[in-house]
Amino acid sequence: MVKTVPLDYYLWLAAALFTIGVLGVLYRRNAIIIFMCIELMLNAVNLLLVAFSTYLNDASGQVFVFFIMAVAAAEVAVGLAILVMMYRNTKSVDINILNRLKW
């Protein structure tokens, strides 16, 4: 299978997806949406790792992506448990309520 997509196209795509993730973290106040945008950033990096691994003929990159997926699954499980905890205590998922460490 002959591929014609140059590697730098994947660079631009991953950069765009990562920027959208950063924008979401800065733009929203809902903690769940912020969490999803962090997932988006992780996926941008994963895409870039797979692209480099394929084009440079090194399988370690794809194994690394596999480990990142496992870490992301663990992170989501613990993070959503923390979110449910936070909702139980404050009845909201607004991150502006979580400012008690400031005082």
Binding site: I32, F67, A70
Partner: protein, 165 residues
Amino acid sequence: MTLNAFYFLSFLAIMSAIMVVLSKNPVYSVLYLIITFFCIAGHYTLMNAQFLAIVHIIVYAGAIMVLFLYVIMLLNLNKESEPHKSNVLKFAATICAGLIMLVLIGSLKGTENMLQQQPAAADIGLVKTLGKVMFTEFLLPFEITSVLLLAAMVGAVMLGKPESR
């Protein structure tokens, strides 16, 4: 043909990623994020990384997004009256993200000639190759991952338990 598929998948991925950020309803955000994940899985297939494409769909669209949807339904967040930042803060956030994009473009521009633009071998993403690498070179990290998942499971159960004193 491949290039057209790449353009289509990229356009869809970026559009639905923007909709994740901009849609008012959290449930719609999750659904748009699922579209983005399927597009990224399509990109993996395009790069002939079939194993990762399947694992990506199973783990992200199958497990993580279901968890997100479940939490949103559990917390009853499907109303549109959720808090929003003021317009000044939104403007500042957009400016900051634009600056990050600018930095990324500036640092990546001009690297086209340094990169190898054609893939070397087609069988790098197959299960056979990856399995060989994973179970010889990366055996210890693979085992440690199981400890990490166990720890995450115990932590989630501990956090999710109602407090009883």
